[in-house]
Amino acid sequence: MYIIIIGGGDLGSSLAREFLANNHEVLIIEKDVARCEQLKDELGSISLCSMGSEIATLTKAGIARADMLIAVTSEDDDNLTPCEIAKRKFNVPKVIAKVNNPKNEHIFVKLGIDCTANGVGPVLENIKVLTGIFPLARLLSFKEMESELVLVKVHNSSLVSKSLEDLPLPAGAVVTLLIRQGEGPKIPTPETVLQAEDQLVCLIPSESEESVQAIFASNQ
């Protein structure tokens, strides 16, 4: 595939490296001249030093034959414009935007850029997992299935000694993995009996997040 990345910061260059390692063709459009030189040293001649939201630049970059455009600058407006141009003017099949301010995500969706990666959410959830004190953390969103892969932790002592089939999980929830201290990961069965501090990886319908959180939350 031919992939155009707007923004050659840490995220843009890491993405480029991943795509290159998987034998894709990549071009990074970066406005900062010094950063462009660095990219050349690190990754070879795969960068174009220009403004990613200029139609002339995108045309020069060969956007007409691009399979994908990914905008990952640190400014939401600098990400929105190239995505709109790619999608509406050049019919690029896949357009993905990093949204720096999570509050702007719905604006992108409303303007037709529905593949958005929130710049804060994953780090936030990661830290929630690391603290070990939250009953639920989101691991991954499957927007097309309207489902979330979440990690829940048994904080509610009344769940201890109960089996999975006795939990009031919402319809459609799938418990995929059990992580128990001192033991290796296991694929749980409906008969699996919970212990304190057990962690479960579950796929749940997005709208049921709060109810699932309530099941596992501390009962103090």
Binding site: S53, E54, I55, A56, E75, D76, D77, D78, L80, T81, E84, I85, R88, K89, N101, K103, N104, I107, K110, L111
Partner: protein
């Protein structure tokens, strides 16, 4: 009419001055407080410190009551984004934005946005001047 202007540069301040004198309720926004220094001392509108790409700020600036929104920051992308928020999210009846890049102006016009390119206007004017001679 309630009018919100984003960007208090030369164009924004001049517009604010004119629209205020014309009897409109003008709110001019900018992310830099010192930019408001260029407003005349008898400016009767409101200077509002804040970024119009932030919906919360737009609400505080009174976008729900606005009859018009004008985006004239020096950044085309910021103008495009704020104008689209005003147009699509808040349904402001009249939305105008400035787009230095003529190609981008044409593109956003094709999406239904009133995008004005001062460069194209200037070229047009010069063309007409040359015709006169």
């Amino acid at each position: 009419m309630n009018i919100i202007i984003m960007g208090c540069g030369r164009a924004g301040a001049e517009l604010a001055k004119f629209l205020d004198a014309d009897g409109h309720e003008v709110t001019i926004m900018d992310i830099d407080a010192s930019s408001f220094d260029v407003l005349p001392s008898d400016f009767g509108g409101m200077a509002f410190l804040g970024d119009a790409t932030d919906e919360g700020m737009l609400k505080k600036a009174g976008i729900a009551q606005a009859g018009a929104f004008i985006a004239v920051t020096r950044d085309d992308d910021k103008n495009a984004m704020t104008a689209q928020i005003a147009h699509q999210i808040f349904n402001v009846p009249k939305v105008v934005c400035r787009m230095y890049d003529p190609l981008r102006a044409e593109f956003f016009q094709s999406l239904g946005l009133e995008a004005i390119s001062p460069i194209l206007l200037f070229v047009q004017l010069v063309k007409e001047k040359l015709k006169d001679n």
